[in-house]
């Protein structure tokens, strides 16, 4: 806090908001720790592997090389998607903007497919370099798709046009991805994992890549959060506050594309986490974007990790692709949100 503390009565309002934000952050971190432990103990061999990890090399391998990286990977992918969602919603001043509806997730998947077809790799055997290659291709795909959506929608002013353009871009890019699959049937299996969304193939390398990307994107989003605040008052007013719109916007679009691209490159298409996380945060703590981007990121991480553990546990020893689960849960949440909005308007 600042050295010059104002009298207590003076900043009662923001202090209350920030206290709530702090509590939420604390709870989310606690939930993350609990879920990480839970994630390490859920799997086909159950909790036994954790107990015997000290003595049994096989059990140790299961916990250390399979469960822990994929658990951490689900957390990181959720953090990336939640961050991308918060940035997209602020940047486009649209509560429905998320990496999915803007087509950038489809672009990332197409980029990933192109990289896999060209490099001849699958997520299961990915080496460091291949992982980096797929991630970069997904990033380029995500950034390209967002720009395409923006061009088609002729800017961000018109909500319906923006969402429609995003859906169209998503469909067209998915079709292009299908074409690549037909041309290169050998990537079919890895692509299936990719399109349904799963944390099953996340190893330590992928975790390191995602962690690096998350640190970069979160720092960028945090540093540019004043633009997201200013944009709430409209473009002209944001510019009147001395905020350089064009470069800050470009930086935020790149951060969003990198976050989406990295998450999609390693865990495939996982819908609605980016949409739901910022909404949930806003319904609990109303704070400026400086806090909001971090909280949304943590919320996305907790949501996706919880969904991943659920997907692994529901029909154990088999497992559901987590993307299917989030699509079902997130879709219901979106429907409920729409229903509530129509009610609020008609009242």
């Amino acid at each position: 806090m600042s050295a010059v503390m104002p009298p207590a009565a003076l900043d009662a309002a923001p202090a209350a908001g920030q206290r709530r934000a702090l509590w939420l952050a604390l709870w989310l971190l606690l939930a993350s720790c609990a879920l990480l432990v839970l994630g390490a103990s859920v799997g086909s061999t159950g909790f036994d592997s954790v107990l015997h990890a000290g003595r049994d090399p096989l059990a140790r391998q299961i916990v250390w090389d399979i469960r822990l990286p994929r658990t951490l990977g689900a957390w990181l992918a959720g953090a990336l998607l939640g961050l991308a969602g918060a940035v997209a919603q602020g940047l486009f001043r649209n509560p429905l903007a998320d990496p999915y509806l803007l087509g950038s997730a489809s672009g990332a998947a197409l980029g990933g497919a192109v990289a896999m077809a060209m490099l001849g790799v699958s997520p299961t055997t990915a080496s460091w370099l291949a992982g980096l290659g797929v991630t970069s291709a997904a990033f380029i795909g995500a950034a390209g798709a967002v720009l395409l959506t923006l061009v088609l929608a002729r800017g961000v002013q018109h909500t319906l046009r923006l969402l429609l353009a995003g859906v169209i871009v998503g469909v067209v890019l998915s079709a292009a991805r299908d074409l690549i699959q037909v041309a290169k049937p050998q990537i079919l299996e890895s692509m299936q994992v990719f399109t349904m969304g799963s944390s099953a193939f996340v190893g330590w390398q992928a975790c390191a890549l995602m962690a690096g990307s998350w640190a970069l994107c979160a720092a960028a989003a945090w540093a540019l959060s004043h633009l997201l605040d200013g944009l709430m008052l409209g473009e002209a007013t944001a510019a009147s506050l001395g905020l350089p719109l064009a470069p800050m916007r470009a930086g935020l679009v790149l951060a969003m594309a990198l976050a989406t691209g990295t998450a999609v490159a390693h865990t495939g298409l996982i819908a609605f986490v980016g949409l739901a996380a910022p909404h949930l945060v806003r319904s609990i703590a109303r704070v400026t974007h400086q806090w909001h981007v971090w909280l949304s990121s943590l919320m996305g991480a907790v949501l996706l990790l919880a969904a991943d553990i659920l997907a692994r546990w529901l029909i154990a020893p088999q497992e559901l692709p987590v993307g299917v689960l989030t699509a079902a849960l997130g879709g219901s949440y979106l429907l409920w949100l729409m229903h509530r909005r129509t009610l609020a308007v008609s009242l």
Binding site: V4, D229, G234, A239, S240, G242, L245, R286
Partner: protein, 258 residues
């Protein structure tokens, strides 16, 4: 004599190949309140944006000077401290508390990513008290009525504490008592040496300003003191003689001509 706060030379602006402003020259004196009026589509808002350097999607020609310096040469943050802007229909339904909204007005004063200082808190409190919005400082904007919201947004602009303040239709959604309050707010800003330029549709309120800038079809139809007979004549002229300017209790008012 008064110095010039904002001056413009040969300002032309076109939006999508449609010319909206046609070579406008003007000098707005410092320490006075100028109201900009005119029929719909006369280019009032476009002129205000051009003078503030906020026209992004239009082709603008001509020179604007703010407090004696060419506007284009002033760094964005410094300009933001010199010129406060309040636009039309700012902020859609938002979840931020009124206090945080008003604090956005302090962005040009705060070092990058630094938390608000004591001076920032003091400025926000003063602004919110001025517009009588202090009581709902912790309520989110989405829970406020149109008029209450407008007062929060006015406080946001006041919190900038700039020597020059531009407002585009600041009275939208304000009920008559709060229109009066707004009048007092502007008067005290001007009394403290500030310069205010406001686009107004409420002609009777606009007539309480020091000077009036009357626009028609992208040109200045008249620019003169509000007390002046020539201004009143030009006003009746530009509104096709469907209003009349009369003095009631020593105040000039615009009334419908029936």
């Amino acid at each position: 004599m008064n110095t010039v706060a904002v001056s413009a030379r040969q300002i032309s602006a076109s939006l999508q190949n449609h010319q909206i402003l046609h070579g406008i020259d003007l000098d707005l004196p410092q320490g006075r309140w100028t109201s900009v009026v005119g029929p719909n589509g006369a280019g009032k808002s476009t002129l205000l944006k051009a003078l503030a350097g906020l026209l992004r999607h239009a082709r603008v020609q001509g020179q604007v000077a703010l407090l004696g310096r060419p506007l284009a040469g002033i760094p964005a943050r410094e300009r933001a401290r010199q010129l406060a802007w309040m636009g039309q229909n700012e902020a859609a339904a938002e979840d931020l508390p009124a206090y945080d909204i008003a604090m956005l007005g302090r962005l040009p004063h705060r070092p990058w990513m630094a938390p608000p200082s004591g001076a920032d808190h003091a400025a926000v409190q003063a602004a919110l008290r001025t517009t009588q919005a202090w009581d709902w400082r912790d309520r989110p904007l989405s829970q406020l009525s149109g008029g209450e919201r407008q007062r929060v947004l006015l406080a946001r602009a006041l919190a900038v504490q700039a020597p020059v303040t531009f407002m585009d239709e600041p009275l939208a959604n304000l009920d008559p008592p709060h229109q009066t309050d707004w009048l007092h707010t502007v008067r005290s800003l001007v009394a403290a040496g500030g310069t205010v330029v406001s686009v107004l549709h409420e002609i009777s309120i606009a007539l309480q300003a020091d000077d009036m800038l009357i626009m028609a079809a992208g040109r200045i139809a008249h620019h003169g003191p509000c007390q002046d007979g020539a201004t009143h004549a030009a006003l009746e002229q530009v509104f096709e003689r469907r209003i009349q300017v009369r003095q009631i209790d020593g105040m000039w008012m615009a009334l419908p001509r029936v």
